[in-house]
């Protein structure tokens, strides 16, 4: 199942990349298509942030991941590079768990 998702996901993403080189320019240059394509990553990344922080299957929970996200926000405000942001979040969550403050 995971391999099928990897294969289908990769093929689709490649087809999307290739479409820019093959599809007549008029279709992709319509303002509506441009606006939606620009906003889609913002909407999806934002919902991925909150779901991956607060969802445990279909329940909303507050756990160590929230502390990790808070630490990530501080790191981003201090202009930390990507890897550091991720590491800071992991360390903060691990610390909160090690202290027994959160599952």
């Amino acid at each position: 199942m995971i391999w099928a998702a990897i294969l289908l996901g990769s093929l689709g993403c490649y087809a999307l990349k290739l479409s820019g080189y093959l599809v007549p320019t008029g279709l992709l240059e319509r303002p509506l298509v441009r606006a939606i394509a620009g906003l889609l990553p913002i909407a999806l990344l934002s919902s991925l942030v909150v779901v991956q922080t607060a969802a445990a299957s279909t329940a909303l929970v507050v756990d160590a991941r929230l502390a990790g996200l808070g630490a990530a926000i501080v790191a981003l405000l201090l202009r930390a590079p990507f890897l550091l942001v991720v590491v800071v979040a992991a360390v903060a969550a691990a610390a909160v768990r090690a202290l027994g403050w959160s599952p």
Binding site: L44, V51, L83
Partner: protein, 238 residues
């Protein structure tokens, strides 16, 4: 970095200094991307993938946000269908990048196959930044694409193999690294009020739907916010 436009204001061959500057810049971007390839590899394994599967994604899908999304949705129990569609939606912007790069690169045959695979945020950004001379834009695109492809995959390998050596990734907070990764990808896109409103609206939709639907659906449904905002924007500008 010096302003490349000053070196080479007209058509023709690039000055050696400009070539060096573009190559150095491309390598710098590749190294930064490689560093977050490490986090991708580690997160993919922590979410339940094998190192092979993480590597296959970096080689085949090669677009960071889509890869993180596929891994994140699968790991959260969202199912393969929702994971694949979320990855596609996040990859849609690369089609527009190709549209911008096509007249600059005019790639044929195998070069077109490769140009498409390497059409991502970083290579397109560099290509556009240097397209005041077509040769500069082409070099910037190809050098950045190559550097990022190689180093992103090396980083993935390091991270995946490293995380495979850990027995319990949650103990090291790797589950918290996933939303932090998404946030770091989102952060530079929050440039104006529209972006903030779309991000907030999508977050509300996803949170509201989480208790009501199966995992994976809330993220997909939040795409509606982008579609609605896009329609409102284009109507206002007409």
């Amino acid at each position: 970095m010096t302003d490349p436009a000053q070196d080479q204001p007209v058509e023709g061959a690039l000055s050696p200094s400009r070539v060096r500057a573009i190559r150095a810049n491309a390598l710098g971007i590749g190294l930064a991307t490689g560093a977050y390839g490490i986090s991708f590899g580690a997160i993919a394994v922590a979410s339940g993938m094998t190192a092979w599967q993480a590597q296959a994604l970096s080689l085949g899908m090669f677009t960071g946000a889509s890869q993180f999304a596929l891994v994140g949705v699968l790991g959260a129990g969202g199912g393969a269908v929702a994971a694949v569609i979320t990855a596609w939606l996040l990859g849609a912007r690369n089609g527009l990048y190709g549209l911008h790069m096509a007249p600059l690169l005019r790639p044929r045959s195998w070069r077109r196959v490769l140009a498409a695979q390497w059409t991502i945020d970083e290579s397109t950004g560099m290509g556009m930044a240097h397209q005041d001379t077509p040769a500069g834009g082409r070099l910037a695109f190809w050098a950045t694409g190559a550097a990022v492809y190689v180093l992103w995959n090396l980083g993935t390998l390091l991270g995946a193999v490293g995380a495979s050596a850990l027995d319990d990734p949650a103990r090291f907070g790797l589950d918290a690294a996933i939303p932090a990764g998404f946030l770091a990808l989102l952060w530079p896109r929050l440039k104006d009020r529209t972006a903030w409103l779309v991000a907030a609206g999508a977050a509300v939709v996803a949170l509201a739907l989480t208790p009501l639907t199966r995992p994976g659906i809330p993220v997909l449904a939040s795409a509606v916010v982008a579609v609605a905002a896009g329609m409102l924007m284009t109507r206002r500008h007409r």
